[in-house]
C-alpha cells in the first residue's frame, strides 16, 4: 500500500519586515522578503513524520499557489525532506481571495492525486485559518483540522484538537484534509545534505489552463470579496515610562486608578 501526502504551503512576506499594501490593495509582494510561512513548516514536519512511520511506500509532495518567488518556499520544504513539488503560477491569480485560492488548490490536489492533504493552521499574512476547511468542502472528504497531535494507521487519521472549551479526539477515514497547529512538534532544520538534495528534486509548474480553471474564476475580478480601503494604523501616542526606584508598583497603581481601573 502506498500513501500519497500533499502538503499545502504558502509563500508569505516576512512578518518581522515592513509589510504593506500595493496600490490595488493587495499585499505588496514586489519589494518584500518572502519565505515559507513558518506555520506551514509544522505541516511539512508532520507529513515527513507520517511518511517515515508509514508501513509501505509514502511520498510527500509540497504544493503552493503563488508568484514566481514562491519557489523559495518549495525549495525550503524540499530541503527539509519532501520528495517533490508543484508550483501553481499564473498572472491571472493576482488578488485571489480565500474561496478562489481553495478552488485552485482543490483542482491541483485532484490532478496530483492524494490520500492525505496536510495544511498549516493559518497563513501568517492572511491569517484566516479557513483554507483547509474549504478544501475539505470542495474535495468532499473529511476535515480533520487544527490538530496538535496526528497519526495515520490502517487508512485512518487520528488526532487531537484543542478547542476553546474542550480538547477533542478526532478520527476519520482517508482520504482526508488535515491541518496542524504549532503545538504539533518543532519542525526540523534542513541539513546541508538536504539542501544539496533539494536542488535535484522535481518541481512541476502548472498554470490555470492545466487545471481547467477560467481566468474570471480567480484573481481580483473573480473574488467574492472586495477590499475598499487600507490604512496604516496610527502609531500609539507615546506613553509614560518610569524607572522603578522602589515605588514602581505604587506608581502603576496610581496610573490604573487615574484610568478608573481600580
Amino acid at each position: 500500500m502506498s500513501l500519497k501526502i500533499l502538503v499545502t504551503v504558502k509563500y508569505v512576506p516576512d512578518a518581522t519586515g515592513d509589510r504593506h499594501f500595493a496600490d490595488d490593495l493587495t499585499v505588496d509582494r514586489d519589494d518584500m522578503d518572502g519565505l515559507l510561512s513558518e506555520l506551514d513548516e509544522y505541516a511539512v514536519e508532520q507529513a515527513l513524520q507520517i511518511a517515515e512511520n508509514y508501513d509501505g511506500d509514502a511520498e510527500v509532495t509540497v504544493l503552493t499557489v503563488g508568484p514566481e518567488d514562491a519557489k523559495d518556499a518549495l525549495r525550503k520544504a524540499l530541503s527539509m525532506g519532501a520528495d517533490k513539488a508543484i508550483h501553481v503560477e499564473d498572472d491571472d491569480l493576482h488578488g485571489t481571495d480565500a474561496i478562489g485560492t481553495s478552488l485552485v488548490l482543490a483542482k491541483a490536489v485532484e490532478k496530483a492525486g492524494f490520500d492525505l492533504v496536510i495544511s498549516g493552521m493559518a497563513s501568517t499574512d492572511g491569517t484566516m485559518g479557513v483554507v483547509p476547511a474549504l478544501l475539505a468542502e470542495r474535495l468532499g472528504v473529511p476535515q480533520v483540522t487544527l490538530l496538535s497531535e496526528v497519526s495515520v494507521e490502517d487508512g485512518v487519521v487520528k488526532g487531537r484538537r484543542d478547542g476553546d472549551t474542550a480538547s477533542e479526539q478526532l478520527e476519520a477515514s482517508l482520504p482526508a484534509v488535515v491541518s496542524v497547529t504549532d503545538q504539533s512538534g518543532e519542525a526540523r532544520y534542513p541539513s546541508f545534505k538536504g539542501i544539496m538534495a533539494a536542488k535535484k528534486k522535481p518541481v512541476e509548474s502548472w498554470d490555470l489552463s492545466d487545471l481547467e480553471i477560467e481566468a474570471d474564476q480567480v484573481g481580483m475580478a473573480g473574488a467574492w470579496t472586495t477590499v475598499e480601503a487600507a490604512a496604516q494604523r496610527p502609531a500609539r501616542s507615546a506613553g509614560t515610562i518610569v524607572k522603578d526606584e522602589g515605588e514602581g508598583g505604587k506608581q502603576l497603581a496610581e496610573f490604573l486608578a487615574s484610568q478608573k481601573f481600580i
Binding site: 512578518a15 518581522t16 509589510r19 504593506h20 480565500a98 474561496i99 493559518a122 491569517t127 484566516m128 485559518g129 476547511a133 474549504l134 475539505a136 468542502e137 473529511p142 476535515q143 480533520v144 483540522t145 496538535s148 487520528k158 484538537r161 478547542g163 476553546d164 472549551t165 480538547s167 477533542e168 479526539q169 478526532l170 478520527e171 482526508a176 497547529t181 504549532d182 503545538q183 473574488a223 467574492w224 470579496t225 472586495t226 477590499v227 475598499e228 480601503a229 487600507a230 490604512a231 494604523r233 500609539r236 506613553g239 509614560t240 515610562i241 518610569v242 522603578d244 515605588e247 514602581g248 508598583g249 505604587k250 506608581q251 502603576l252 497603581a253 496610573f255 490604573l256 481601573f261 481600580i262
Partner: protein
C-alpha cells in the same frame, strides 16, 4: 426590514458574550434572527431575546457533538434557505471561521473573517479588519452572494434591546458528509473561575521573564486583584509554565480588552498580533529597550518580582 442570521455560540444553553456583541452589530444591518444548535439550544432564547433577537431558530441532534463542524454547516445552510437573510454573522472562534467558510462556499458567497467592526453600507455590510499584526486597518465587503462575516470578540458593546425572541424549530437534514469526522473523545477544560481570556475586560499576562511555572502565582494574584483573565506569551507556554489555552498572540488567542498588562514580555510581532488592539496597554519589563514599551500607555522599567507584588498589594489596599 431585512433579517440577519446570527450563529449562537453557547455552552449547554449559556450564551457566550461574543454572540451578544454580534446581536448589537446585526441590529445595524437588519433584524437579528438567531440560530442555536445542540444541547440546551432552546435555553438560549431568553438571553437572545433580551439582546434583540426577533426569532430564535433551534435544533438539537447528537450529531452536533459527535461529528466535527459539518453538521453545524448543514444546519446553518438550512437556516439560510429558510430565512433568506441579508447577511450571516458568526463569532470568530477557530470553529466559527471554519463553519462560516464552508457555508459561504456552499451558498456561493464571499467570506470575511475576523472583522472588528461592521456598518451598514449602500451595497451591503462593510467590515473593518485589523491586519498585519494590527498595523493596518482595512475595510472590505462581500461582493457576491449573501455576506458571511465572522466577528472577533470585544468588537461591539453588549446592549439590551428587548425583542420577541420567538423560538422556532429549524428543520435540518444532515448531508452525506456530515458524519465524516468522528469525535471519539472529549475532555472539557476545567474552569479556572477567572473570566474567559477573549472576553475579559482586563488581561494580565506573563512571559519568559516570569521565569518558572511556580512564579505565575504572582501574575495570577495581580489578575485576581483586578478580576482579570491570565494570559501568557508563547515563550512561557513553550516552557511549560502555563497552558496553551492562555497563550496570547498569532497562534494563541487574540484579545482586545480595556486594559492589557504585559509582565516580562518583550513584545515580539507575533505577540503584538494578539493584543495590539487593546485599549490601554501597560508593561513591566526590566529592559528599557524592550519593544513592548513602544506600545504602552504606561510602562515601568523594573524587576517584575518587585513591581508586580507591590502593585497587587496597593490595589488590594485601595479596594479596602
Amino acid at each position: 426590514m431585512a433579517e440577519v442570521l446570527v450563529y449562537v455560540d453557547h455552552v449547554d444553553g449559556a450564551v457566550r458574550k461574543p454572540t451578544l456583541e454580534l446581536l448589537t452589530l446585526a441590529r445595524r444591518i437588519g433584524e437579528p434572527v438567531a440560530v442555536a444548535l445542540g444541547g440546551g439550544a432552546a435555553d438560549t432564547a431568553a438571553t437572545l431575546a433580551e439582546h434583540g433577537a426577533t426569532r430564535v431558530l433551534t435544533h438539537d441532534a447528537s450529531e452536533y457533538g459527535e461529528y466535527l463542524v459539518v453538521p453545524k454547516v448543514d444546519a446553518l445552510q438550512a437556516a439560510v434557505t429558510a430565512v433568506s437573510p441579508a447577511a450571516v454573522l458568526v463569532p470568530s472562534s477557530a470553529e466559527g471561521k471554519e463553519i462560516a467558510a464552508r457555508l459561504a462556499l456552499r451558498i456561493g458567497s464571499g467570506v470575511i473573517t475576523d472583522a472588528v467592526d461592521l456598518e451598514a453600507g449602500e451595497t451591503g455590510p462593510v467590515a473593518t479588519q485589523s491586519v498585519f499584526a494590527a498595523s493596518f486597518t482595512t475595510t472590505s465587503r462581500v461582493s457576491k452572494g449573501t455576506p458571511v462575516i465572522t466577528v472577533k470578540p470585544n468588537s461591539a458593546a453588549v446592549e439590551a434591546a428587548p425583542a420577541a425572541g420567538a423560538v422556532e424549530a429549524l428543520n435540518v437534514t444532515f448531508s452525506e458528509k456530515a458524519r465524516g469526522t468522528k469525535v471519539t473523545g472529549r475532555t472539557v477544560r476545567e474552569a479556572t473561575g477567572r473570566p474567559e481570556l477573549t472576553e475579559a475586560a482586563i488581561v494580565v499576562s506573563g512571559g519568559r521573564g516570569v521565569n518558572g511555572a511556580e512564579n505565575f502565582a504572582i501574575i495570577e494574584a495581580l489578575a485576581d486583584s483586578l478580576g482579570a483573565a491570565v494570559g501568557a506569551s508563547r515563550a512561557a507556554v513553550d516552557a511549560g509554565w502555563y497552558p496553551h489555552t492562555n497563550q496570547v498572540g498569532q497562534t494563541g488567542k487574540s484579545v482586545s480588552p480595556q486594559l492589557y498588562i504585559a509582565n516580562g514580555i518583550s513584545g515580539a510581532i507575533q505577540h503584538r498580533a494578539g493584543m495590539q488592539t487593546s485599549k490601554t496597554i501597560v508593561a513591566v519589563n526590566k529592559d528599557a529597550e524592550a519593544p513592548i514599551f513602544d506600545l504602552v500607555d504606561y510602562g515601568v522599567v523594573g524587576d517584575l518580582f518587585e513591581v508586580v507584588p507591590q502593585l497587587t498589594e496597593e490595589i488590594n489596599t485601595r479596594k479596602g
